[in-house]
Symmetry: C2
Subunit: 570 residues, 2 copies
């Protein structure tokens, strides 16, 4: 059988990418059987001690300080992260576009500006930043996982890239995505599969899975992902990172490409993925301070709110009341996820906060509403983009060989939608009516918690799983409702790392009364030995357009966790 | 022929409304042939001198001051406005729901609160406020111009009404609308036609035409209308009022009924209509300060910005640069409208500002995009609501008898859409893509004006006609693109009165090179004698979500106009 034309083009494009890796940056690869590769950047010999010091600086505030005081030049910082990104690429296949010369030229320009003027260009002066393969960069392809998009050259920078330049940053690599973007894993026909550096048998999540793997390996200090149903939060959770899902249009999406472009019922948003709370704050504040509404007509005209960040509406951050959603009552979380919530509860209580249980509210209706919106065109958008090249629409994220035994023929998300059908405009409007009513009901439900918090206020934030599991084998990430819930409600959310799965502590639960086939399958999937060592993250959800408050609370929770872990280990 | 069932129900409902007018508030009606009825409230004898003093207080700040200092009680202020509203009803048929006892009971409650606590309830303490027949009030019908909605009782207050209560206001009447809401005039089968008190042969505009007529007759100090294509601004302009069209979701629409509910591509918004800039500011600031996002999940979480209101981004309000859109290049404005723009130009220049010409940008594409969105369901929504009762869908706003000779068989809006067809979800998404691109293009066009303002900034605001004419005879208001342009772009806009048409000054233009049939028809419609005395308003458009800045600039423009008029008349 002849290799189809689209496959030939994909192979050529992939080879072109491989050829861009400098010979001297190629490392001796560990065997495919080595699952955990986190240590390779330190052991492979490519990075100097100084480059390791630079790239191991997870505190973005510190990186920015050293850059703007010229203790470290942008050229050396960018070079260090570039080398480490190329190592990450060789280990996990996380990159798409590689443009070393261009990035270093930009870094040099930034250094020269500082040398000449004595002033940094902006708040992200000199910092290399990676972006998902949706953020167009002038003169460069944006392929977004479609064979048919190979050769599609952007005529302008996306607004995000423009603002990163204004802020002094150095966009330096682009990262991998799944075909269609609407998967919680990362595989496409052009660039292939991205793996999780904690365990390459596992997915880094998706759709911003390239960023997840890259940032986990410290190949980038801040990566920019996008999130329509969990695509920032899932890879952040699966890869042990911090991440932010802002509300619709708080950060500028204009000029980025997207799947289902023009679908504005549940909008995709962009957010940072990074190894420190400082990275979340620095990125978000810098982009908002750059007034994105000057360039993106949809961007919310709301300046960074100092008072919201100072938690003025949350008692100044003292004696807050958090609610934990232990279970969304659709898919029960695995033992490591439950233990992570117990740790956070302990940490918050030790820090003087109150923790109550969150009562799930109309989840099945919300689930059905959002999945019906995503299916409203009956896949016309995806089919159209596949038809450009003739590549098939990917039906499973399971590898052809070495797939995990677990497979779910009918994820619950499909069951809740029923038989898909291309809706007409009026039918779509009815879904909007329903969504508005559900959002109103959920808001009232949240407000009503004021009766039981003891603070006089409603619950300050909800803490919940990111997913029912901590990562999972390729092809097994079937459930995204823990994250999609908050896309539908448009609550600002942050993800933070809590612990790692532990085979000794996280013994399997006995079977419970299963709510649906997926709940059962996810339960049976759990294997303490397989999961051992995987990072477990949780998410913190605040109110719509409350990004500053969510970041402020994230700092409180993160500090409480550090203190608690120290006290527990003593 | 038997009277159809729906007509019988409409007649009964209308009679029920008439019966609610107290016998002692019925006035000796002027003859139908008396076109201008503005003087009737003063001459009809129903209002005492004090009631005239109260209702003639157009400065809302003054009303609020007298209410919160108990110089005037809410009961007497509400009674005075109620009586005048009932006069307005008898003259222009502007009301729908009348609920005197309920409103006065509320006013009494407000007065008692102040007497007991010494503290006003909130920033709108004691002020009667009228609302369009979309804002549900618990236990009351919301008919919104559909026979089939008669008897539809609201179970809860709309969020706006809840917040008005929190602010201490007294909702006291509801006002008339056209069937479907998507007309720039005000006529439906249940409550009939609302007329313009400046000239009852003319329409007050629509769809918030009930508010327009009511507030023009000073039957309400502040009315709340809604605007999806000009429905606040057109009646504000046609009736000589101030009005605000905020950006999508800045003020809380939740719990109000609507046409095409769930159509979120170009959202309807709510805004105040009033006789003073103070009224616009007092209402808008009070509602935003009440944090509508606590109750409306879609409301923008943006506190009232003191710095935006102080015009910090506009040079502090000194030496600004305004651009006048003399003509949208689709329908040429009538002479009185052009003269109004010349007056504003003179006033602004005299006040030290710069005035340049606005260059229209891609208007035909924007026009086609927005009209295609409005037609996306091929009228399914309207037909469904008409089918509830069997009433016919209204095809013209022309009266059955006494219609003006002018009639436009094919408004240009229909021509730009082409043959309507019920779009599918994917096709609607393509309109969204197109709209985003047009908004981006228009934003860049605006930003680029920085090169020619002389201020170093882009143009501070655009000043444009509200419509190509100052009001017009019933059935003749075919063109709404001067307003709909800004709904599509989501620019915050305010309307302000400038002058009155003057048969001596505003002589007809010679025919120009007509761009389309509507442009020709509108040109030929103009009759200096018919228009003489009609108010002419203009609109000021600022940026998306820049309500505070728009109100701040409105104050600057209004003050400049007062000064200029005084200097001209000396």
């Amino acid at each position: 059988m002849n290799t189809p034309e689209w496959q030939i083009r994909c192979n050529q494009r992939k080879q072109q990418q491989l050829d861009l890796i400098p010979e001297e940056w190629r490392i001796a690869l560990p065997p495919d059987s080595q699952r955990n590769v986190l240590d390779v950047p330190r052991t492979c010999g490519l990075l100097s001690a100084r480059e390791l010091e630079i790239t191991d600086t997870v505190d973005v505030d510190m990186l920015l300080y050293k850059l703007r005081t010229a203790e470290w030049s942008s050229v050396e910082v960018t070079t260090a992260f570039y080398k480490r990104a190329i190592i990450a690429q060789q280990l996990t296949n996380c990159l798409t576009e590689i443009f070393i010369d261009r990035a270093l030229a930009r870094a040099k320009e930034v250094d020269e500006h500082l040398a000449k003027t004595g002033t940094p260009i902006g708040p992200l002066h000199g910092l290399p930043i990676s972006v998902k393969d949706q953020f167009c960069i002038k003169g460069m392809e944006t392929i977004m996982g479609y064979a048919g998009w190979i050769g599609r050259i952007a005529e302008t920078d996306s607004v995000l890239v423009e603002l990163l330049h204004e802020c002094g940053a150095v966009p330096f690599v682009r990262t991998n995505v799944p075909q269609t973007l609407i998967w919680g894993e990362t595989y496409n026909h052009v660039f292939g599969r991205t793996t999780n550096p904690y365990n390459r048998y596992m997915t880094p999540g998706g759709s911003s899975g390239g960023e997840g793997a890259l940032v986990a390996l410290r190949g980038s200090p801040i990566g920019v992902g996008t999130d329509i149903g969990g695509s920032v939060r899932i890879p952040a959770g699966f890869c042990g990172l911090y991440g932010l899902r802002p509300s619709y249009e708080r950060l500028p999406y204009c000029g980025a490409v997207n799947a289902q472009e023009g679908q504005e019922s549940v909008s995709s948003v962009l957010g940072p993925m990074t190894n420190s709370v400082a990275g979340v704050r620095a990125f978000t504040k810098a982009i908002i301070d750059a007034k994105p509404w000057r360039r993106d007509p949809l961007a919310v005209r709301k300046a960074w709110s100092v008072s919201e960040y100072a938690l003025e509406e949350h008692g100044g951050g003292d004696k807050m009341c958090f609610a934990i959603m232990w279970d969304n009552e659709i898919v029960k979380p695995h033992p490591p996820v439950r233990r992570a919530m117990e740790i956070v509860k302990g940490a918050l209580e030790e820090a003087g906060h109150t923790v109550i249980d969150w009562e799930p509210h109309r989840h099945l209706e919300i689930y059905k509403n959002v999945e019906s919106i995503f299916a409203a065109d009956e896949g016309h958008d995806y089919r159209t983009d596949c038809a450009l090249s003739g590549e098939p629409l990917i039906q499973t994220m399971s590898p052809d060989t070495g797939a995990h035994a677990y497979a779910l023929d009918a994820p619950f998300a499909k069951a809740v939608v029923g038989t898909p059908r291309h809706l007409n405009a009026w039918e779509l409007w009815q879904l909007h009516r329903e969504k508005r009513a559900l959002r109103k009901s959920h808001l009232d439900h949240w407000e009503a918690t004021a009766a039981r918090t003891g603070t006089g206020r409603p619950v300050d934030a909800i803490i919940s799983p990111v997913a029912p599991y901590a990562a999972c084998p390729h092809g097994c990430n079937s459930d995204a409702f823990y994250t999609t819930l908050f896309n539908t409600l448009d609550y600002a959310c942050a993800v933070f790392p809590v612990t790692q799965a532990d085979a000794a502590l996280d013994r399997p639960d006995p079977p419970h009364d299963f709510r649906n086939g997926e709940d059962e399958a996810v339960c049976k999937l759990y294997d303490p030995e397989l999961w051992h060592g995987m990072p477990v993250g949780l998410q913190l959800a605040g109110r719509t357009q409350e990004e500053e408050g969510v970041i402020g609370m994230l700092e409180v929770v993160d500090a409480a966790l550090q203190t608690y872990k120290e006290s527990q280990s003593q």
